[in-house]
């Protein structure tokens, strides 16, 4: 049960985007479409899961004083690997995401999970934590990207839904407004769940 909780906590309860408000740079920048959000989210999930596993494995041999530089080396290596693999095997997505792939290195969600979880827990728990938080992040980006694409371009994943196009939605202010509304929704869900838990 506790392992299942490790996996699912990042999806709603500790959602990195809407609840913890982490990783805002890629969240605001790449979510102009649902496919961009999905690609970015999956790349981040892969890096997060793999770096959590490695950091958990080496946690006992890493001196406390230099743990941050070593974590950065591990994370940067995985990001570079993902960048190379996407270049070779998912060229179009790699082109679209451009600069934001190398920038996963400085995504505070990854460093945050490494420091607060993977460096203190076992391999399996760390892997589930990385996977759960990564999927939560992916879901958040897909949701934000879908809303912005739907209202900004009238499509979802490129499929036409309606003719309505609110240009503001694909511009940076649209990202902030939509993120704010979705954060409010997640906070409301969180409060309701808490109240229901207290009532029980």
């Amino acid at each position: 049960m506790s392992r299942l909780r490790e996996l699912t906590k990042g999806i709603i309860k500790e959602n990195p985007t809407y609840v913890q408000v982490l990783g805002m740079c890629p969240t605001l920048a790449v979510t102009t479409s649902a496919i961009n959000g999905l690609g970015m989210g999956l790349a981040t999930t892969a890096v997060l899961t793999m770096s959590n596993v490695v950091i958990s494995l080496i946690r006992k041999i890493v001196p406390d004083k230099i743990r941050i530089p070593i974590f950065i080396v591990v994370i940067a290596s995985f990001v570079t690997m993902i960048d190379l693999l996407m270049h070779g095997f998912a060229y179009d997505l790699w082109k679209t995401l451009g600069l934001f792939i190398p920038l996963i290195v400085v995504n505070c969600i990854i460093m945050g999970r490494a420091e607060s979880f993977a460096s203190k827990h076992g391999v399996l728990d760390s892997m589930l934590d990385g996977l759960g938080v990564g999927l939560g992040f992916t879901g958040s980006l897909v949701l934000l990207g879908s809303v912005r694409e739907l209202f900004g371009n009238g499509t979802i994943f490129g499929y036409k839904v309606w003719e309505l196009k609110i240009f503001l939605e694909i511009l940076p202010p649209g990202a902030y407004i939509t993120l704010g509304l979705l954060s409010a929704l997640f906070t409301y869900i969180g409060i309701r769940r808490k109240k229901r838990g207290e009532a029980k």
């Binding site: 102009t32 591990v74 690997m81 070779g88 451009g98 600069l99």
Partner: protein, 224 residues
Amino acid sequence: MKDILKTGLILMVFTAISGLFLGLVYMGAKGKIQEADNAAKLSAIKFVLKDPLTGDYLVDEKEIEEVVKKTGIETVVLKEYKEGVVLGPLYEFVTKDGRDAYVLSGYAPGFGGNVTVVACFIKTEDGFMLNSVRVIDYSQETPGLGAKIGEESIQRRFFPVPPEGLKNGLRVDKDAGLPKGSPEELKKQGIVKVSDVMTGATITPRAVVTALNLMYGYLEEVSK
């Protein structure tokens, strides 16, 4: 001192192991990366060698592949200008109706980085005409704004341009004082109408136009 050496040594071991793994991944992906880059370039060359109105190939597809293979696909700098760079190889084709077609690429600075364009120019009695254009790199442009240049419907605003439109230099409509008229009419005067489809992002289409002007200038220069 001993402590510094110890931590330095540990860091070195970790970076060396990471480097080793990265090297292995690169060795494994190198071929696929090269293939993906070459495929993207070949697809751009094929695209610009199509008739913009009918969509038919101006040169036989097999011949395109043969010329590209013969000339080589590795990018080389043909000429550097203050405003941008013209890149080669310069591919020379003969169209099915006997005209000389030239394909080359070039880049100029956009909003976040360089915007790279592949273009096909066809020699006519009045000079070169711009047959077709493909923007192949705009990865540093703002998503939703400058990055819209990747959309085919927007790229179609840049071609075809007759020789009289190229002679005075291509301009985006904002730089030409936003003249009235359809995109097709304005192209004849060397004006690319994009202000209606790329609101708030003039720098990116201007980079495309600059790169095209440099390529045209280079072709004029070498053909003399």
